[in-house]
């Protein structure tokens, strides 16, 4: 079947290939991931059966990995829709092969991250109390609201630009035609349909930006609305948003590099794309440093005893290894690898991105645990060691993310085919005209 198809279709054949050709590697990967998933599910059931006692949490460290990973995963989700919306809005032509992957990250990671507060509940069976007895004055309800809004907006924003591609799959026939016919929503590529689609995408991309910013701002509010030293800070909103975009871009780069290799997208994801995105990553790294510097300098200069106690706990105490590890991962490694052009190869970018993702996870850990472990009352400092269950659910979360991505790639093209075509047909002319319009009239 595949041989015939290859001859019949145009230059973007390589983008269809993952959907129609499935190798051994795919089955092995998926089985391993599903095994991990079931293992973590079993671990979660042990937690539901016996209570949160199976975790390493205690008094005073009442929040642990679940909240850390919640903030972390939601942060990663900012890669997607936000980056894609900003690139679309700024008419960056190089966005075309990137936007789809970015949006998929958002949809999957947001679903995983959004479930984390439920993993953290002592009484998940009473979850619906949030609806029946919800207090909108509580920052947790702001979260529920804005994450739901972001999830809705970003799945729609993922689906709509996919319609022309789904129609292409439908017209190809062969696999799952009924499924693609249903999802293609009667797309025929008429002028009117194109006009409507463009209009809707334009509205959505503008709407999605404030929603995305609100999501991580509100997550930071969970911490900053309390009176606890180390949390009660006005900088937290923008600090979290910047960190989220930072870790999001890094995750996007990792995904791009992985699938470029696995599915041979070298011709689409060129070095130039990585150069541009990694410039953005470098800028975010510097911005992250600026925020971190401001946050800690303010605390140190004022030297309020409780605040200082927590800062020292991070600088020289038990969390020093995590704190300085974070500075190395988030600032030193990316600035060296991305700032010096000799290191700025795909490999260098991959290392920098992995380092940023690790560093941002450490940052979430450093924000959540030290404040809780050092109660302002003269109580002994709390100790927190995550248990096997918490590790299992963390690994399970990552496995579900990879699984979701791999399965998605088996049903839908990871690179927007129609947008690439549009780029070839109309983009070049449009950009030329646009550049002319920038220049002074002669």
């Amino acid at each position: 079947m595949s041989k015939e198809i290859k001859q019949n279709f145009g230059p973007d054949e390589v983008l269809y290939r993952p959907i129609y050709e499935t190798g051994k590697g795919f089955y092995i990967t998926v089985s391993i991931l599903i095994a991990i998933y079931f293992w973590s599910l079993y671990m979660y059931f042990t937690q539901v059966r016996s209570g949160l006692g199976v975790t390493g949490m205690n008094q005073p460290v009442t929040w642990g990995f679940y909240i850390v990973n919640f903030v972390f995963f939601i942060g990663i989700s900012h890669a997607g829709t936000l980056i894609s919306a900003i690139l679309r809005l700024s008419k960056a032509e190089w966005r075309r092969p990137i936007t789809r992957m970015a949006e998929v990250i958002t949809a999957i990671v947001l679903a995983i991250g959004g479930l984390h507060p439920i993993l953290d509940l002592g009484r998940p069976d009473r979850m619906l109390n949030l609806v029946s007895a919800g207090r909108l004055q509580s920052p947790l309800l702001w979260d529920v609201t804005s994450i739901t809004a972001y999830f809705t907006a970003s799945t729609v924003y993922l689906y709509l630009p996919m319609i022309p591609d789904i129609a292409k799959l439908r017209d190809r026939g062969g696999k799952l035609t009924w499924f693609y016919t249903f999802l293609a929503w009667g797309w025929q590529g008429t002028e009117k349909q194109k006009k409507i689609l463009n209009k809707v995408i334009n509205i959505l991309m503008i709407m999605v930006i404030p929603i995305a910013i609100s999501v991580h701002t509100v997550i930071s509010y969970i911490f900053s609305m309390t009176l606890q030293p180390g949390w009660h800070s006005t900088i937290f909103g923008p600090y979290f948003v910047a960190g989220a975009i930072f870790s999001g871009i890094a995750a996007l780069l990792i995904v791009m590099i992985a699938f470029r290799r696995a599915y041979h997208f070298e011709n689409y994801l060129k070095e130039i794309h990585f150069k541009y995105l990694s410039t953005l990553l470098l800028i975010m790294s510097l911005l992250w440093f600026y925020f971190t510097f401001s946050e800690y300098l303010t605390g140190i200069f004022g030297s309020e005893p409780h605040e200082m106690h927590i800062i020292l706990y991070k600088f020289t105490g038990p969390f020093a290894i995590f704190f300085w590890g974070m500075v190395v991962c988030n600032f030193i490694i990316p600035v060296i690898l991305l700032g010096i052009s000799r290191f700025r190869t795909i490999k260098g970018i991959l290392v920098a991105s992995i380092s940023v993702v690790v560093g941002m996870w450490l940052e979430r850990l450093i924000i959540v645990v030290p404040t809780l472990a050092n109660p302002t009352m003269p109580l002994p400092a709390g100790i927190y060691f995550p248990s096997l269950v918490e590790w299992a659910l963390f690994i399970g979360g990552i496995a579900v993310f990879i699984l979701g991505f791999v399965l998605f790639s088996k049903f839908f093209p990871l690179i927007s085919i129609w947008e690439i075509e549009e780029g070839r047909k109309e983009g070049i002319k449009e950009v030329e005209e646009r550049i002319h319009s920038y220049l002074p009239n002669t």
Partner: protein, 227 residues
């Protein structure tokens, strides 16, 4: 409307811990295993704080009992997503165990670390199971609990007062810790009532509250010559 408050005279307190014991029995508080307790999951509604001041050999030990402070501007109530912790008109901060979803946001938000969580299904030794206080509901796994100022006692006192058609007298309503204190260091009453013992003590030059700068207005006042 009365506003219930507690005064703890640290110059009288010997740090014996009787208040902790009577509180545990009065309120059917679970007794966790020693291993669990060493992991920081011990359940006290009334805790005893120990502070060591100075260096050896000039050490001064300061001990003080710490219940829930029933803040007049309670940070835990502000953050609860489901209204499972609330402040009533008489200033008591309560917890609705059957509504709590166990998110532990109130615990993270409490500046005094006054709340405890049921990490497992609560357990008691056999002897305790035979003498539960019928006025206090048993909690389930996965919910937050804390000192209620023995609010169940208020219900009884109020019923008696209503039957006799009068106001609640000063000193009629008091929690178990105040009752059991061997040195009478814990006083309890209506702080809005200018005639009450608690009000008079709260005006003493020895009176102070913990972390007044936070503005949460705790309703537990300590008396001490040395602050």
């Amino acid at each position: 409307m009365p506003k219930w408050a507690m005064v703890i005279d640290l110059d009288k307190c010997t740090g014996c811990g009787d208040c902790m014991a009577s509180c545990k029995i009065e309120n059917n508080i679970a007794i966790v295993s020693p291993e669990e307790a060493s992991e920081g999951r011990v359940m006290f509604w009334m805790d005893m704080i120990t502070v060591y001041e100075g260096d050896y050999p000039n050490i001064r030990i300061k001990r003080y009992p710490k219940p829930c402070f029933h803040c007049d501007n309670p940070p835990c109530v502000k953050v609860c997503p489901v209204h499972a912790t609330y402040k009533n008109k008489e200033g008591l901060v309560g917890q609705i165990y059957d509504r709590c979803i166990g998110c532990r946001y109130c615990m993270a938000g409490c500046p005094f670390t006054s709340k405890v969580f049921n990490w497992y299904e609560p357990v008691w030794p056999e002897e305790f199971r035979n003498c539960f206080n019928p006025d206090v509901s048993l909690r389930n796994v996965g919910v937050v609990e804390k000192c209620s100022f023995c609010a169940h006692r208020l219900i009884r006192v109020r019923e008696n007062a209503d039957i006799e058609d009068r106001e609640i007298r000063d000193g009629e309503y008091f929690p178990a810790c105040a009752e059991s204190c061997p040195t009478n260091a814990i006083f309890f009453g209506d702080i809005e009532n200018k005639e009450s013992k608690v009000y008079k003590l709260s005006q003493s030059s020895r009176a102070y509250r913990i972390k007044e700068n936070l503005g949460v207005e705790p309703k537990v006042i300590y008396l001490s010559e040395r602050k």
